[in-house]
Symmetry: C2
Subunit: 531 residues, 2 copies
Amino acid sequence: MQDPRDPQTLTSTPSADDAPRRGRRRPAGRGGGGDRTTVQQRPWKQPRLRYEPTRAVSDDELESIHQASLRILEEIGMDFLLPEARQMLKAAGADVDPDSERVRLDRGLVEQALSTAPSRFTLHARNPDHNLEMGGDYMAFCCIGSAPNASDMEGGRRPGTHKDFRDLVRLSQALNVVHVNGGYPVEPIDLPPRTRHLDALSDLATLTDKLFHAYSLGRTRILDGLEMVRIARGVDAERLMREPSLFTIINTNSPLKLDGPMLEGMMEMARHNQVVVVTPFTLAGAMAPVTLAGALALQNAEALAGLVVTQAANPGAPTAYGGFTSNVDMKSGAPAFGTPEYMRTALVGGQLARRYGLPYRSSNVTSANTVDAQAGYESVFSLWGAVMGGVNLLKHGTGWMEGGLCASFEKMILDADLLQMVAEFLEPIEISEAAFAVDAIREVGPGGHFFGSPHTMERYRDAFYAPMVSDWRNYESWREAGAPDAMTHAHRIYKQLLADYTPPPMDPAIAEELAAFVARRKEEGGAPADT
Amino acid sequence: MQDPRDPQTLTSTPSADDAPRRGRRRPAGRGGGGDRTTVQQRPWKQPRLRYEPTRAVSDDELESIHQASLRILEEIGMDFLLPEARQMLKAAGADVDPDSERVRLDRGLVEQALSTAPSRFTLHARNPDHNLEMGGDYMAFCCIGSAPNASDMEGGRRPGTHKDFRDLVRLSQALNVVHVNGGYPVEPIDLPPRTRHLDALSDLATLTDKLFHAYSLGRTRILDGLEMVRIARGVDAERLMREPSLFTIINTNSPLKLDGPMLEGMMEMARHNQVVVVTPFTLAGAMAPVTLAGALALQNAEALAGLVVTQAANPGAPTAYGGFTSNVDMKSGAPAFGTPEYMRTALVGGQLARRYGLPYRSSNVTSANTVDAQAGYESVFSLWGAVMGGVNLLKHGTGWMEGGLCASFEKMILDADLLQMVAEFLEPIEISEAAFAVDAIREVGPGGHFFGSPHTMERYRDAFYAPMVSDWRNYESWREAGAPDAMTHAHRIYKQLLADYTPPPMDPAIAEELAAFVARRKEEGGAPADT
């Protein structure tokens, strides 16, 4: 049975437009560039976890983790490196040491914060088709964030540049299964630090019409980001305040520290009713105890402390509970990802987030240095932990390599295929008389085959997920074709997606306003040099 | 922190003995060769699924699949190609068509069979340390079975030989996480077909002390297998009858057919109280309906029909419920594995097996032609479906490539690492005051680190799983080391394991008896030529 629409055969489109061309009117289309590519994909859609999440610890054990975290916050406390934050927490009732940066939070403060944080909210993209539900059983997948290096088979591994940044952002837009831009996919180190955020956020606002993220590297960058999102969405400040449209990831400086720029960012985001995802980076054996229970207790203490900050800044501000506990290689101290330890802490992180009624953030991660079997298995193991843990926001969904030190163009595609498979896995099985096919089984009869049966012919086109990367040819055909491995397929597909890329439409007036804002802020010098 | 016992540094043992040397006395050792290798492994242990299995359909939907299967068996029936089987089923109350091979089974017969089949039993290996619990939350992992080809990086891909067969069997013994030999890992096609089973089973009985499998290719081969297991275990026929020690996989000829040799084998195995695993090979869109519900209804009907056969032959005979439903590539008809469709049917297969109170068999599978990222992700996706589906017997646990057409030496190692990670993932997290490490967190304090803390020093050696294959070095060190991918690591490790291999001890009298039996049966000509 031959289907002429072979998704593995990628036809090239000679007129493909690789320029962003801000302000030029383009035909409106749902989903932006992703829907117009010659690479066959699932449509843009948020998956939902209809299965029961997996519980790795009992309810009693979960409660004891919670209690251990409360003791950490009450007895040990945390260092908050921003005086303004300490004042705010003191006003909220925290025990603030006047002679140091130490703040102790009692359980009443934590309970108060948990009572005001919303369990579910909507995130607004400039293309309303790309709005996201955050919480409940909804999932959203992010592109990689924050890699210092980029790599592909052609150019090898190199420090990130603005060109790599823009190409990765284009892929993020082109891949339907990427719902969110999760930070800078690679750091564009050829851009000046003080104005880098202006160029980067401008790219994110124009090359994509999906949600994006701003780094909490001080107040100025967050305020710039908020203004750029407001302009890109074409809304006023009041509406932006009603409609969360930007998110930031806060990594505590584990153990038990929050620095000034992060605190400035999270407080400003919360005050503007934007989304703060608090994710302690608790590597068991390094920044956290070597025991998983200890690492989880610390993760949880820090996540709850972050929650207290956002809710003290603005009760009801949208937040998410981030888990990123993994282990290190005890021989070298190197962080390890997608490990059995990672999987179990991802499950418990989800249990804690559900106990608190907060959306849950986890990640798709690997330590592999090349897109080999290890990259495949560590990523799927981490997805197993995250998805069955009930993840709502999956960071680093596509492209993450080397424990986060490299954004791989090929891994972008491989991961997009993995995420599409996960999304398909989460689709309900159709259970109906027609689906049971008893009459078709009767017609085919013992020893027959279903290839040509009417029941098959009516359904075969959409019956199964058609992968982008997987090569299902038999060995002989595959060998004749040059024995391509998954990385080779992914390389071809990313090239094709970039060739097919067209920027999503943007109102010329908005594009102009955005460009003017960037120009003015650059003239002003961008962010202060010290942050 | 340096641990001198680097598991990635494999020291060679120059006196390694690569010959099986039947009858030569060797020092007794728990677990056989696997425990004496220089490759660091988890000890031999059956993992248990302490998590709640994932349900992909509701109880009502599950019941409707069951009902559809009963209708298929009642209204359409199945072809049984062995007159003796039809007579037996007729005597048991089945509706047997006198003019064809068709047999219709009513729901009463199915219910009767379900009432006598045991839900849990022990399988006895010749080394009692390698006995297996089958059922409940216990898991057992098999080595690959039945590949026509073998491959490794050095020798490339080739039709299976006796040498490859023996080397793969040695690896199966050497890998602690392989609990069962699941058939011939590769077909030794250089051995004559009529006596092949004698050489192959003799190797399985001597090169390993773990359980093995006999093919149901007619009565003679099964009777030979039973006698060889009896001799190897050093027990009499009555004890063998009391203690299941051999298993066979029955693949129905889907749709709705069971051939003569398979029926002979399964009836003989059941009569001897040995384990029959009925696994319909229901590829949706080919031998089964294109809809997952239809493929599952057919799988379930055939599995239940197999159960009726074993219980009619010997009520109470141990059986397992096998699921192997996957989909085909609708463009080429090629079977696909480790797909989202495979994952969901693996979950539902487990739900059906639990509804019936039968041990559940699933598999670790991939269509990949080389040990690349696809091999990694398809295998872990299939493990995700199998493990969260509550698998008890995981077939093809190590080594499976190309949809079963090739046994890869490197994949043997890669999969063993994956299975060890799964086993580690299933270990409970220690929840205790000591594990919460609140005092250690207090001592380390905000901004400190846990590397050198007493809490870490006491625990770091066994804190985390140390993988065999995964390369966690940073990019620079990895590149300096020649940029090895996972396949390259696996190649090195399989060579080391073979070099370290020593055959498990066997009483010389038993070895002699076994050799004499094989010699006599060869003299007699082995199995009849027609099967």
